[in-house]
């Protein structure tokens, strides 16, 4: 029986005022193996920890139990304390008598009784603890950044600025993400392009950054410190090494009427194209489906006009893949804007001048379909020179805060709606702006001030959820216009408001293929489909998978400042790991007891991290410690107890259980 020390904390009055600590100490000192039991006002304080260190030395303690707050709070602290006194930190067990005893129990006697049981359980458990070593693996000094939006660009730049190699993978032909489509940004109203383009160029020209545009991550193997990543490059049919980006081909391509993805089909592009003027890399790609040469076998005009001889029709249509090695991964794969097509009652896709927020962004944009003029469609087509609207409706919370669609708030809609309100006022003098909101959420720096400014710009704010947008005119003045039906909850009346244009501020959703990417990366998602951070408060950019970080909207809706901040934060963590050169891996992994393993292989498909494989020679399972995340699911499933988990061995848990049930 090892020599055990038990240390009970008062946590000021947090524990002491409910749990009768001296009684617990006295009880503990009577438990088998306990040679020393003591209490302290604040065990986590320096004197508290010093008391433990001294006791370890003086009483030759071989096991330590600290009864105080949650292990999620101070387990690391006290492990360190033990280490400092020369005791392996895993010969320590924490008994949580605060969060789950004193704070949740009214009756003091019962609380004390429960505290005793918890302590007894910890004492029983700690007997069977074994020393564990925190292992380390070397870190390849390179980082993969998935997604070339503003968060990804920021992360890439930060990492690269330290002289570390970065692979920036973007599946679109150009980096820039959604921000590249924006006209102005709230609340400062500075031009999105003006602040983003330099960063894009900087990223593309940075000696330590390799931009893989028009590419996707298809496979990730290995583990923290040394991931092997396979990147698939889609065929461009243009040799970007030779291409000078002169743009001659773009002018000459006869295929003019291809709806542009970048402009949501509101503008056209050619078969050989650059998504937008400031695209980075600024090199064209050929859209095989629409290219006359590929479809009809004639043309080759672009080839003729290309002086650099960069056109290469013979590229493998399947594209090509390369493998890179990185030490860690930053996922900034962004989001997508919800298409409110199934909301027939709001007229989207049914009535001509109903737009989503991001589409309207293009309407305001100088290089957009209307050259920045906010005008109604002419003949069902968006183009410059149209009739300016007399009234515009901005509708909030489309698909957000809506049990039918997404319970969450998309966080940016209120603010960009206000931005639009301002832009409309600016671009279309005399145009009425109706802003239909449920709550106005202006939480960021300078946001509330922006709202107040808008209140003075004579925008009509209507509090209420829009019931319907219809073109069925009932009253004079409604003919040929759209009517927004809404219950004005401030006035307490149902109103019909005629408008000429409707902007639906629709929700931000997980990006296309977010689930698939999560699987490729063995990463968890929360139920809304956004990527799951390690801890919502204390580890917002790391994930349960060591060496994989998240930034920007892939983790949840965000505005630009937050996305950039997260990009930088993720970069900092990635760098910290790389600068240290090695990474610690939790020792509480699963391991196989060879003599007992019969190679039944039940465990293998259970592991979401593919950490278990069958050693064919020995016909046994093998757990790769660096891949194992220590969930213990395989251990729970192993029918012969041949799999065990360091720190959560069956014998330890059962001892804890016995401790609980032994208490009377």
């Amino acid at each position: 029986m090892p020599r055990i020390g038990v240390f009970v904390c008062h946590c000021g009055s947090n524990i002491g005022s409910v749990v009768h600590v001296p009684e617990v100490v006295q009880f503990a000192s009577g438990l088998p193996g306990v040679v020393h039991a003591a209490e302290h006002k604040y065990m986590c304080s320096d004197p508290g920890q010093e008391m433990i260190r001294q006791a370890i030395r003086e009483h030759g303690l071989e096991r330590v139990v600290v009864a105080s707050c949650s292990p999620l709070m101070h387990e690391a602290t006290f492990r360190k304390t033990c280490e400092e006194a020369g005791l392996n930190g895993f010969l320590f067990q924490m008994a949580n008598i605060r969060e789950q005893v004193s704070w949740v129990t009214e009756d003091k006697a019962r609380a004390t009784k429960k505290a005793m049981a918890v302590v007894q359980a910890a004492v029983h458990r700690v007997v069977g603890h074994v020393p564990l070593q925190v292992g380390t693996v070397p870190v390849t000094p390179a980082t993969l950044v998935i997604g070339g939006g503003v968060a990804g660009i920021e992360a890439a730049l930060q990492v690269a600025s330290s002289g570390t190699r970065v692979h920036l993978v973007e599946r679109e032909p150009s980096i820039g993400g959604h921000m590249a489509r924006f006209d102005k940004t709230f609340p400062t109203l500075d031009c999105a392009a003006c602040i983003l383009t330099p960063k894009m160029v900087q990223a593309n020209t940075h000696p330590m950054i390799t931009v893989h545009a028009w590419s996707e991550v298809v496979e990730v193997s290995g583990f923290v410190g040394s991931f092997k990543v396979r990147i698939h490059h889609k065929a461009t049919y243009v040799d970007h090494q030779k291409c000078t980006g002169c743009g001659a081909c773009l002018q000459k391509c006869p295929q003019r009427k291809i709806p542009s993805e970048f402009d949501y089909g509101m503008m056209n592009r050619r078969a050989i194209y650059i998504p937008f003027a400031q695209a980075v890399p600024n090199k064209p790609i050929i859209d095989r489906e629409h290219c006359q040469w590929f479809q009809a076998g004639k043309c080759r005009i672009c080839e003729k006009v290309c002086e650099a001889k960069a056109i290469d029709y013979d590229q493998d249509p399947a594209g090509w893949t390369e493998e890179v090695e990185v030490g860690n991964i930053i996922v900034a794969s962004g989001m997508k804007v919800m298409q409110p097509t199934d909301m027939k009652h709001l007229g989207y896709g049914r009535l001509p001048d109903v737009y989503t927020g991001i589409e309207f962004e293009r309407l305001c944009h100088a290089s957009g379909p209307t050259e920045g003029h906010i005008v109604c469609k002419t003949g069902g087509v968006v183009k410059a020179g149209g009739r300016p609207p007399k009234a515009i409706a901005l509708v909030h919370c489309i698909g957000s805060r809506d049990q039918q669609h997404h319970a969450y708030c998309s966080r940016v809609c209120c603010m960009y709606a206000l931005k639009y309100a301002h832009l409309v006022k600016e671009h279309v003098p005399g145009c009425e702006v109706y802003d239909f909101y449920i709550d106005m959420r202006c939480f960021g720096k300078g946001y509330e001030e922006f709202y107040n400014r808008l209140l003075r710009e004579d925008v009509r704010f209507v509090r209420g959820k829009v019931a319907e947008v219809t073109d069925a005119a009932l009253y004079p003045g409604e003919d040929g216009r759209m009517v927004v039906r809404v219950e004005d909850t401030l006035v307490g009346a149902v109103r019909r408001i005629p408008v000429d244009m409707v902007v639906l501020c629709s929700a931000l959703e997980p990006a296309e293929g977010a689930k698939a990417l999560a699987q490729t990366l063995h990463m968890g998602c929360s139920s809304d489909g956004f990527y799951l951070e390690r801890h919502p408060k204390l580890a917002p950019v790391s994930t349960a998978s060591a060496g994989i970080f998240v930034a920007g909207c892939c983790q949840g809706p965000k505005d630009i400042p937050d996305s950039v901040a997260q990009g930088a934060a993720a970069a900092a963590q990635a760098l910290a790991m790389i600068m240290k050169g090695q990474v610690e891996v939790e020792p509480t992994t699963a391991h196989v007891i060879d003599d007992l393993c019969s190679g039944c292989q039940i465990c293998i498909p259970l592991c979401p991290y593919e950490a278990i494989h069958r050693d064919e020679a020995r016909r046994k399972a093998y757990v790769e410690p660096a891949l194992c995340k220590g969930c213990g699911t395989c251990v729970g499933a192993c029918p012969s107890g041949a799999l065990q988990q360091w720190g959560f061995d069956d014998t330890q848990i059962l001892a804890e259980l016995e401790g609980i049930l032994a208490a009377r």
């Binding site: 949580n96 359980a121 059962l654």
Partner: protein, 150 residues
């Protein structure tokens, strides 16, 4: 059985449910004290063996809490637990143990309030079912030579 105080063991996954239970504490939710938690990294680690052992050694009820399905920090560890749950309950019934003495509940890191409710509900259920006292009753149902002679 009004004065009967059930003894309930709870196995909580560290990421969601244990954090949620902590949150119940930090937000000072009050619930009854008859429940003692055991922390594991994932509900998928909970071996049915532990559940039977708990009942045999004096527990009146066993509660297992994990992340909501689709919300698991280990991607799908909780799917393994929910896969074991129905058949374990059915087997308990075959041994004469009311299936409600074993409950599987999803409690996220944000659901401290829910944890408190789940615990109180569980305690009410088990209190209504009465004490299990497996070991004593098993001994009482076992004959020995002494009994045979007398």
């Amino acid at each position: 059985m009004s004065d009967f105080e059930p003894r309930i063991v709870a196995f909580l996954c560290s990421w969601c449910s244990y954090t949620g239970a902590d949150l119940a504490g930090t937000s000072r939710k009050k619930y009854r004290s008859n429940i003692i938690p055991i922390r594991v990294m994932c509900s998928g680690r909970v071996d049915p063996e532990w559940i039977l052992k708990a009942f045999r050694d004096g527990a009146d009820g066993v509660l297992v809490c994990g992340c909501h399905p689709g919300d698991c920090h280990y991607i799908n560890g909780n799917h393994k637990t929910l896969g074991r749950y129905p058949v374990v309950r059915r087997m308990l019934a075959q041994f004469g143990i009311h299936p409600d003495r074993y409950r599987l509940e999803w409690v996220s890191a944000a659901e401290g309030d829910r944890y408190a409710k789940v615990v109180d509900a569980m305690i009410d259920t088990v209190r209504a079912l009465g004490p299990l006292r497996w070991k004593d009753r098993l001994a009482a149902a076992t004959d020995t030579l002494a009994d045979a002679r007398s």
